[in-house]
Each structure stands twice: as C-alpha cells, then as structure tokens.
Amino acid sequence: MSEPWDLSLSAAAAAIAAGRLAPVELLESALDRIDDIEPRVQAWARIQVEDARREAERLTRLQRSGTILGPLHGIPIGVKDIFNTAGMETACGSRIMAGFVPAADATAVARLRAAGAIILGKTHTTEFASFDPSPARNPWALSHTPGGSSSGSGAALAARMCQGALGSQTSGSIIRPAAFCGVVGLKPTFGRVSRHGVHPLAWTLDHPGPMARTVGDAALLLDAIAGADPHDPATLSAPAPLAYAALLAEAATDDRPAAALRVGVPDRYFTDGLDDEAEELYHAAVRVLETAGCEVRDIRLPDEFEAGMDAHELIHNAEAAAVHVDTYRARPGDYGSKLRAIIETGLQIPAPTYVRAQQVRTIVIRRLRDLLDTVDVIATPAAPGPAPEGLASTGSPVFNRPFSFTGFPSLTVPCGFTGAGLPVGLQLAGRPFDEGTLLHAAAAYEDATAWGQRRPPL
C-alpha cells in the first residue's frame, strides 16, 4: 500500500469508510510529509497541528464506533488564507490583516468540517488574493512560481501534503496555480459556492472553489461545499447542485464516457502568446478527447470577447479599490506595489465606465451562452505556458479571465509536461451551473492519460 499521504482524496476516504485507515494515521502521515517537504516548498501560512490532532482523534473514535460523518471523514484539507477559519488566524497574505482571528468559519469551510474534513491549516495566498506573491514555491521546480493567487493550495497538493484544498478565483487564481502545479482546479459557476466569509477582492468576480489531485477528488469537494447559503444572495437563485461524485462514478461504468460530448476549439485569443510546447500539448489533449469519443468543432468567439477582457480588468480594479479604500487611506505603505497600483487606478475609473464595463459583461455573457448551445464544453490551454521561472510574478491569468468575467464554470486537468518537467493544464469551460459536464469530460480525459499520477521530484 502507498504511504497514506500519497493516497488521493477518494482513495483515502474509501479506506477510512472501510475501516482500513484511521484518520489519525492519515493525519500523522501528512504531518511527516510536511516535516520533510515544507521547508523547501513553503506552501503553508500556518498549520494547526494540535487542533488537527484533536480533530483526527475525535474522528477516529467516531470511525471505530461505526459513525462516518460524511464523504470527507478524516481527510486533511488546506484552506487558502483568505477563507475565515474560526479561531485560526486569517491574514490574507497581508500586513493589514495580520493577527486577525475570525470568530466563525466561512461557509465553505464550515461545510467541509460538516462533511468530516480536518482543516489542517491555511495555505499561502498572494496578498489579498491579488498579484503580490507569497513565499510558496512550485514543487516541480522550486525556482519557479506555483502561480497565484491560490499559490499554497496548488503547491501543497502537488507536494502531497494534503488530500484537498480550497482556492478562490477572481481572474485566474484557481486554474492557473492548479495548472502550474499539475493538479486539478475547479472554478465553479458564480453562485454555485458561497463567498460568505471569504475576503473579497472584487465582489462580482470572486469565485471560491476546490482544488485536488484528481477530477473525482474535486467532485467530492464540490459536493461538500456547493449549494444555497442565505449569507450569499448569489447562491440563492442557483439551481440545486447535483451529486457530482456519484455522477462521475456512474459515467465511469460507460465504455465510451465522452461519446456525444461536443468540444469547441476557439478560433483566437487562447493562442495569443502561447508557447510552443504548451501549444503542442494542448493540441495533443484535444486529439485525446476526440479519440475518447468527443466531437471536436472549431468555434468562433464573439466579436465582443476582447472588449470583455478590458471590461473585466476595469471592474476588477474598481471593485478592489472599493474593497480597500479605507485601509489604503490609512496604511498605503502596508500594501504591496501591485495591489497598491490596482487600488490607485481603480479609484480613478469613472463611474460611467464601470457601468459600461458591466454592460459589456452582459453582452459577452449572452454571446458566450449562445455559443455554448453549439458545443458542450470549450477546450483551451490553461495558461500561455508552464510556470514561469522566478517568484516575483505568479504568471498570467489571461486564459482564465473570460470565465471569471462571465461566471461560467471552468476546470483544469493536467495534460502533459514540458521538456523541463513542468506540468501544463487543459482548461475546459462550460454552461452556467453545468459543472457535471465539465467533470465528466475532464474525467474521461484523465482516465485516458493519467498525467496527474506523476509526483514532483522533491
């Protein structure tokens, strides 16, 4: 049997449910792995060892008495440090929030605990989930960025220090670090997962979501955190989530699980600045989907698409300025230079421009929804290349931005490695609230390739 820390979330959960693995064994194995690897990777802002041990002991006692709280019983999870965690510092990677200890959990965190998860600690985020980097490093090449802003979540998963993680995305902050770290990231539809208790970067663009080592693991996490929350109005008019993990299990019994799925390959934008190796891996991934039974079609993006990306940035800066203006006024020197520039420019954007940007957003949402009547998923590279060298930049979110802007769901699954051994991701995007189709397509791809089973050379 593998070391417990090396088990996928699904495998660990199955072993715990069957009584073959105790939550305390899994936790101690994860802590051993962290002792060994964390000094090099620096994925964690803080780890609550004693709290985690107490919880693992409680969950082990329950397991022995025949009680399994839920599908995540005894599973160690890393939580991006912008999610409130009751009694555990939530510093948002910032000097401004240092020492802040929330009284209550974010809704997504509370739901993970209710499903039996152990909140192992807080993973590094860029400052306030923006662009000023954290100390986290890429486990595949320690001199490269893990991406951002969910930097520590991606790095901790890739380095096998936890079985699942929470991230959040305003531009590309789930998909990009997941792709750079060779793991799966799922940015759900806006409204699918509650933002309550997650520090905002830009209210109308923020999406909390799961990150994991496999597509099935991401589905299990989404099952736990999705659904209506009275504290987040965006979730209340959303259709009820499906049982995503069960849906995947059902699809897995199919001989050709991807048959009849129509996959769209965009005519432009997603190849701008794309590096040669990433482009080759992307085309190879599309061919794999075709071989798995998907119908691949060329699609023409709406004329307004590029203007939409300008609108995204204006909305992003204006809303971030509104979030931070009071603390910026009092403590401008405590902000990193990148976020400070976002706030300062956001404060100068005229109000009619912000409204116009939101109108452009309405148009792009309609056009993209129409396009998704002709295909079931859109397949693109997850980033313009692998993780860039250096830790000063977290790389470009440009290929992820369209789906944060429209709120449509997107997902990345590992689709190969460059000659230098860096992972590259395939991004799939779909119709609003149709995470099931995305997971289905990604699982079919994953089954056909298994890129995610490689382990970083740590």
Binding site: L236, E306, L314, V325, A341, E344, T345, Q348, V360, I363
Partner: protein, 78 residues
C-alpha cells in the same frame, strides 16, 4: 477659460487619499486608460442591463430590520 484641475489630484483630495501614488501607478494607469477607451469605443444599447443588478428574491423571506434606520441616531435629529 481656466483649464480643468488634474482629475487624479482632485480625486485624491476629495477622498482624503495619500498625496502620492505608489511606484507602479503610472505604468498601471497607461493600461487602465487604454482599457477605458476600449470599453467606450464599442456602442452599447441603452437597453443593455449592466451585469451585477440586485438580486432581491431572497429578501422576500427576510423579516424587517429590527435595528431601524441609522439616520435616527444622527446628532442633528436630537
């Protein structure tokens, strides 16, 4: 006619913001200015509802605010 006062300095004064911007402001502003032009270049119908409109359905089930209006506590009312 007197020319307009620079808008950026005016906004800083109005909102009581720090007098000087950070080192990246000029570089970022060039990009933002281009984006502002871009979203105003494309005509948009007045009938286009901006995204982000209020969602009110959930309020139907919420009882009236028990705290009342904050305006009642304004000193000039006393």
């Amino acid at each position: 006619m007197e020319s307009d006062r620079p808008v950026i300095a005016w906004t800083r004064a109005l909102l009581n913001l720090p007098a000087a911007s950070g080192e990246r402001f000029s570089e970022e502003w060039k990009i933002v200015a281009r984006r502002i032009e871009a979203v105003h270049t494309r005509p948009v119908s007045r009938d286009t509802e901006p995204a982000g409109a209020p969602r009110l359905q959930h309020l139907l089930a919420v009882p009236p605010n028990p705290i009342g209006s904050s305006r009642r506590r304004h000193p000039s009312d006393e």
